[in-house]
């Protein structure tokens, strides 16, 4: 058995996540309130203003996927009448409830005091929390974030979100927590968010170097962990990103690639890819290793933008807190229209000097997946670089076929080789 090798930042993050789970599962003893909410459009700073803990069901599903528990949970939910066709995050969550709702620390999750339905970029979110609400009968606060259908947000959309924050979300959280809203406290927290965001962007952009000191997909999911979840706006997150930056900088200075799950370092990078779509979690390491075995490194990805597109310049802004939260929610990757997604990905292929775009299409996720074949072809057309398409699922092990994925990857790399040979001949 190989032992997973972790970078120091990963260990730090592990502690942070464990600490958050402990805080959540001991909420009864400490008297703290707990919310459930989603990663895209996550309003962690606002929850912090009210001392409310942030429990993210998507992250629980990922944890259960990586710990190979999700398959059973999904089947449990399907037995209970949930369709085989819908998002497996939802079913993993509902199945977990059916099995005692046990957190990764072995203790039961408390029932949420509030469902913060931050409705950004995914239809399923709305129904997911309607389903949970039926179980928990707790207050549910809907924040409707309109979709950027024309590729940008309008003043009307921003006003609408701000108004909901002021008149629905904040009063709702005040009521649940008994804490009065203090906008100056929010400003302080947002300043910390912005600081961590700067460092995250710095790290993600090192993918432009050759060799890349990071893997912006498999490694990237760790890098985004704290900022996309319960830590954005905390001192801990600032410290984490400072440490991460130092770590990445050391590799950059040493001309080193990222550390792989088997402990080796991927410095000899034969292929540079941009990846669109979330990863598979049930065979995460195996999936990553398939890329590493071929010397492929991911230099940029869209999944690391679902919780905010900081690399396009957005920062949480203490000077205009509520508007800044609104703009944050509106600008998350899956809330952008398809032409914008094509623009972003084509730009990544150019800016990160990638060999092409690989789409990992997720069966569960129409928000990401519907239209990805067109996205791939359009990016190919614009960049002249070949694309490839693989299909897996998030946390349903039935939809990860290692042989198929491996085959697809191998032929993709052959295609890139051919393209290079063709280019060399032509030169």
């Amino acid at each position: 058995m190989t032992v997973a090798v972790k970078e120091p930042s990963m260990l730090l993050q592990k502690e942070m996540i464990a600490g958050n789970y402990d805080a959540i599962t001991s909420a009864h003893e400490t008297g703290r309130k707990v919310s459930s909410t989603f990663v895209p459009g996550n309003l962690n700073e606002l929850l912090m203003c009210f001392g409310i803990l942030n429990n993210l069901p998507e992250i629980n599903a990922i944890q259960n996927g990586m710990r190979r528990l999700s398959g059973d949970y999904i089947m449990e939910a399907e037995k209970g009448g949930h369709s085989e066709d819908v998002c497996t995050y939802v079913k993993a969550d509902i199945g977990m409830m059916g099995r005692g709702n046990i957190a990764p620390n072995g203790k039961p999750f408390p029932e949420p005091d509030v469902l913060l339905l931050s409705y950004t970029g995914c239809y399923t979110f709305m129904k997911w929390f309607e389903l949970l609400r039926a179980e928990y009968k707790c207050p549910t606060l809907m924040l409707h974030v309109p979709y950027e259908g024309d590729g940008h947000s309008t003043p009307n959309m921003i006003d609408y979100v701000v108004k909901q924050l002021k008149e629905v979300i904040i009063p709702g959280l005040e009521e649940v927590s008994g804490v009065k809203f203090d906008i100056d406290r929010l400003r302080e927290i947002l300043a910390l968010s912005a600081k961590a965001e700067d460092d995250l962007v710095w790290c993600l952009e090192t993918g432009k170097h050759k060799p890349s000191p990071i893997d912006a997909y498999f490694g990237g999911v760790y890098y985004i962990g704290p900022i996309f979840t319960a830590f954005r706006g905390t001192e801990e997150a600032v410290d984490y990103y400072t440490a991460l930056r130092q770590e990445v900088k050391a590799r950059l200075d040493a001309g080193q690639g990222p550390t792989l799950p088997d402990g080796s370092v991927l410095t000899d990078q034969k292929y540079r890819l941009v990846v669109e779509g979330p990863p598979n979690w049930t065979s995460f390491r195996e999936f990553w290793q398939m890329f590493a075995d071929e010397g492929a490194v991911v230099v940029a990805s869209s999944y690391t933008k679902v919780g905010g597109m900081y690399d396009l310049g957005f920062r949480h802004d203490p000077a205009d807190p509520l508007r800044s939260l609104a703009e944050y929610c509106l600008g998350c990757y899956t809330n952008r229209n398809l032409p914008s997604r094509v623009d972003i990905l084509a730009q990544y292929v150019e800016d990160y000097e990638a060999d092409g775009l690989l789409v990992n299409s997720i069966k569960s996720c129409n928000s990401f997946s519907a239209g990805q074949l067109m996205i791939m072809r359009e990016v190919e057309r614009r960049t002249g670089k070949p694309g490839a398409f693989i299909e897996t699922d998030l946390v349903d092990p039935r939809y990860f076929s290692p042989a198929n994925v491996k085959n697809r990857l191998e032929s993709y790399f052959q295609m890139i080789d051919q393209k290079r040979r063709g280019a060399n001949k032509a030169a």
Binding site: G80, G81, H82, S83, D85, V86, C87, V90, Y119, C122, Y123, T124, M126, K127, W128, E130, L131, R133, A134, K137, T140, M142, H144, P146, Y147, G149, D150, T154, N156, M157, D159, Y160, K163, Q164, E167, V168, N337, L338, P339, S340, R341, V342, S361, K363, N366, S367, S369, A370, G371, Q372, L373, M374, E378, E391
Partner: protein, 391 residues
Amino acid sequence: MDMPVSKAGVIARRCESIVDDLSFQAARDWKAAEPGRKVVGFLPVYVPMELIHAAGCLPLGLFGGGDRIEVIHGDAYYQSYICRIPRSTIELGVTGRLDFVDGLLFPFVCDVIRNLSGMWKVMFPDVWTKFFDTPQNFDPEIGGTYYTHELRELRADLERLTGRDITDAALRASIALYNENRRLVRAVYDARAAEPWKAPAADVYVVMRAGLMMPVEEHNALLADYLAALDIEDRPRKDNVRVAIFGSFCEQPPLALLKSIEMAGCYVVEDDYSLVNRFITEDVATDGDPLAALSTAYLRHSVETSCKYVPNEADKGRFHVERVKQTGAEGVIYAAPSFCDPALLDRPMICGRLSDAGIPNMSFKYAENSGQMQPIREQAGAFADSIKLWS
């Protein structure tokens, strides 16, 4: 030997030929009749057709290609686990069948149609394409203000498309016509619920669908004729059970499926097929600011369906239970398109509420091009038998 065709049957057959015509000749003819006319298509579930009409355009309901189109190109755009309607819609687009459509509205229902709006922008850059997001906050001050602004933007977009202003007076006149349309539509549904043997589900279906492909004035006249014809319709009454169909608001089943349900012993007395003309349940005000009136109608008087958030847990499924009671349905068939997130995520909640209310229900999945009707006939038949047995 075929039965002699009644007046209602003649109207329905005419509507069926309009619905079946994937070259959209009727809409093409409308457009060609006067220079400068524009056609604005829309997908499920809801758009305010009044605005399109007031712009002098023909609102054209697009519900995919049904089972009447071979999808060749469309499949190259979608993975196997995505429903059928976007593929056949793309097929309609790339085969030139929609080349006369000047604008296309993609209302919010789910992420598939949402994303299709962007695909259309990339694939058909010359067509005015708009994603239309209705509010999920139903407070007039919040969601209402947002929505009135969105409607204002839509109005401005339509004005740009046609080069003509949409006056409040024109909009009020359109609202009045659509109020009339909704009243007639409701009257047909009521008439069917009262005497379902007179109005076969497939006939009512095409009468409604065809209405989304012709000017509302024409449809109003047609509905009035159809109602009068139903009055004198003489068909044998069968010992069928009365069912409501829910879950079918977006991708539409093939007509054969509707017929199969009836042949299996079920009269359809309520449904949510092509819901747009029943989406608003009461008259929209024809005085005051017409955009505010449309907004209020959406916030206050629209149906509960899967593309809308239900703010209070207690209200979830209430609409469905009430409609079952109002129409005297004895059971519900929850028929959802395969891979349809909205219908399938809602299914356990809606069916749960129906069961809580003691309403028998069953569910199955279909696709717009489903060919095998035998399993559906068997399931629906068994369901009808079980209702008869226990009632």
